[in-house]
Symmetry: C2
C-alpha cells in the first residue's frame, strides 16, 4: 500500500524495484559528455525508417527491448506499460509500442513524462494491480522541431534561452523484487504552475517555478533537506531554468546548488555542441536517468537521489493564441 506523507507525497511501502532499464540516443548525444553511457546509439536520424516520427518510435522500441532484456523479462510478463512523448496524439508511443502487445496507458506530461510514467508504474505495482509494469518515453530533435517550431530546412535561428530537443528514449521495468536494485521510495506529483511566461523559446523559465514548488512540497512533506540526498537531478531546466530554480528555492530557504545537476546540462557540452541553454524533451530526463544516473546507483556511487522531471504543457496553438505556458513537475525519490 501507499502511505500519504504530508500533503503531497506518496511513500511506497514495498519500494518497487527498477529491475531493468535501457537508454538509447542519437549521434549528437553520443558526442556529448554521456556518450559512452547509452546502451545504443542511432547514428542515422531516421533510424532506418522513412520518417522522423517512425524513427522516434524506433527509439522507444529499442529502449524498452533493452530494459526488458536486462530485467530478464518478456513483453508478456508486463501487465501495463505507461508511455508518452511530445508528438501530437503521442504517436511515437502508440506506433512504437503496438507490436509489444502490452496493455497500454498513454501518459502526457510533456517533458515530465518520464517521472510521471515511473510514478504510475510504481503505483500500479504497489496497488497490486501489476506484478510487473514498464514505462518508456522519447523525444527526437527532428520530429519536435518540425512540429513545435520550424521546418528544419528553414534553418531558423535559435534564441540564447532556447533548448535543444534530445534525440533519445529511456525505459524502466518496475516490479517487487529482492536484490540490489534501485527502488522507488517516495513520489510527489506536481500541480500545474503558470507564472505568465509566454516565450516558448524559454521553457526553462516557464518550468522552474513548477520544479521549485514540487521540490519544496516534497522536502516539507518528508521533513528532509537537500543535503539528505546524494544528488538532485532536474529533467531539462537548462541553464536559465536551473538558475531560476536556485533563486526560487532560496526564497524557501532551500539551497540545492551543491548537489543539483540538470539532465539537459549533463547530456550536452552546451558551448562546444552549440545547444544554447541545454537539452530538453521527454527523451532528455529519460535517457540520462536510464543510463548515467541508474548506472551510478547500481555501482554504489549514488544511493539516494531525487529526479524531478519538468514539463511545459503548452502547444503551438496555445502559443499562437497568446497564452502563457502552464508547467508541471513530478518528483521521484530513488534509493538503493
Amino acid at each position: 500500500m501507499i502511505k500519504k506523507i504530508g500533503e503531497y507525497t506518496m511513500q511506497f511501502e514495498s519500494t518497487p524495484s527498477i529491475t531493468g532499464y535501457g537508454a538509447v540516443a542519437g549521434k549528437k548525444e553520443s558526442e556529448g559528455p554521456l556518450g559512452s553511457c547509452f546502451d545504443k546509439i542511432f547514428y542515422d536520424a531516421h533510424a532506418g525508417q522513412d520518417s522522423w516520427e517512425k524513427a522516434e518510435s524506433t527509439l522507444q522500441k529499442e529502449a524498452l527491448s533493452i530494459a526488458l532484456g536486462k530485467a530478464n523479462r518478456k513483453p508478456e510478463d508486463i501487465s501495463y506499460i505507461f508511455a508518452g512523448d511530445l508528438l501530437n496524439q503521442c504517436i511515437s508511443s502508440s506506433y512504437g509500442l503496438r507490436d509489444f502487445n502490452i496493455p497500454y496507458l498513454g501518459q502526457y506530461g510533456a517533458c515530465s513524462t518520464m517521472a510521471q510514467s515511473l510514478i504510475m508504474a510504481a503505483v500500479m505495482v504497489e496497488s497490486g494491480g501489476a506484478q510487473c509494469s514498464a514505462c518508456v518515453t522519447s523525444s527526437h530533435f527532428c520530429s519536435a522541431e518540425r512540429q513545435y517550431r520550424f521546418p528544419l530546412e528553414y534553418g531558423g535561428q535559435r534564441t540564447p534561452t532556447a533548448q535543444w530537443t534530445v534525440t533519445g528514449a529511456g525505459s524502466c521495468i518496475i516490479e517487487n523484487a529482492k536484490g540490489n536494485y534501485p527502488k522507488v521510495a517516495y513520489a510527489t506529483v506536481g500541480k500545474i504552475v503558470d507564472m505568465g511566461v509566454k516565450d516558448a523559446n524559454n521553457m526553462g523559465a516557464a518550468m522552474a517555478p513548477a520544479a521549485a514548488q514540487t521540490i519544496s512540497n516534497f522536502l516539507s512533506d518528508t521533513n528532509t533537506s537537500p543535503s539528505d540526498y546524494d544528488m538532485i537531478f532536474t529533467g531539462d531546466l537548462g541553464k536559465v531554468g536551473s538558475d531560476l530554480l536556485y533563486q526560487l528555492l532560496d526564497e524557501k530557504k532551500y539551497n540545492i546548488r551543491d548537489n543539483h545537476r540538470d539532465c539537459g546540462l549533463l547530456i550536452f557540452d552546451c558551448e562546444k555542441q552549440d545547444v544554447h541553454a541545454g537539452g530538453s524533451g521527454c527523451g532528455c530526463a529519460a535517457s540520462v536517468f536510464c543510463s548515467a544516473i541508474l548506472n551510478k546507483m547500481k555501482n554504489g556511487e549514488l544511493k539516494n537521489i531525487l529526479l524531478i522531471a519538468t514539463g511545459a504543457l503548452m502547444s503551438p496553438t496555445s502559443t499562437q493564441q497568446g497564452e502563457s505556458i502552464p508547467s508541471v513537475a513530478h518528483l521521484v525519490n530513488i534509493v538503493i
Copy 2:
C-alpha cells in the same frame, strides 16, 4: 488492494465510489435524445471565450466544478486529477485545470480517455495514494474539426462512415465512501490493436477490434457472460463500429446485441441530426456516462454495467504518412 483476476482484469477490493459526477454539452447535443440529462448546456460554441480551444477548457472546468459540488468536495480535497483530451498536447486539460491547483496527471488515450482516467483515479484511491481523486475529459466539435480535418469554413463534405465529434465534457470524483454510490468494481486495460484500417473517416471500424478484444478478455477473466450485465456501453463506435463489434464478438461466441448501447448513438438522433455514423470524441463517452448512465444507476434502473471507451491513437501526421490506425479500448465495470 487490487486483485488481479485472470490475465488482464483488476478487481477493486474496496470498490471506490463515484461520489459526484457532472456533464456539460453543446447546443447540438442539447437537441439530441439526452438533451435533458446534462447538467449544463453551452449554447454558444465559444462558451464566452475567444477561441474554441479555450471554450473546450471551459467545458472541463464546468464539468469538474459540477462534480465537485455534487460530491460536496472542494478542489483542495482532491489528491490527484487525471485528465486528457484530443487536442495537441492535451491543452484543453492543462489550460482548463491550471486554476484548480490540484496535482495533475495528464492521460492520453484518445476517445478512451474517460475510461482510462476513471481506472487510474480508482487505482490511486485503492492503492492508498489518494483519499479522493478526480477525472475529467472533453472534446469540442470545432476545435477537433480544425485540428484533425479541415477548417470549418471550408465546409468539407463528410463520408457516411464519419462520426461527429461531441462538444461536451464529463467528470467524476472517486473516493472510498459508504452509501448508495456507483462503484468501480472491475477494470480491464486494453492493448493496442491495429487491424490495418487506414481510413481516418471510419474510426468505428478501426476501434471495433480493440473493443472486442478488451470485452472478451474481461468476460473470460471474470468468467461472466454479456447477459450478466444490465447494459454494456461502448464509448463511440457509432453505427459502423457497433455492427463490426457484434460480428467480432460472434466469433468469440459472445452476443451483446440485446444489451449493448453505444454512447455515440445515444447522444444524437443520427438521421435527424445529420451526424452520419454517430457521435465521437473524448467528450462523448464522458458526457453520456456522467449524465444519463450514472443517473440511471443512481435511480436504480441500472445496477451493473460495463463501460468500454475506445480510442483511435493516430494523428493527422501519421495518417498523412500512410500509417494505419492503432486503437485501444479500456473497460470499467460499475455496480451499485
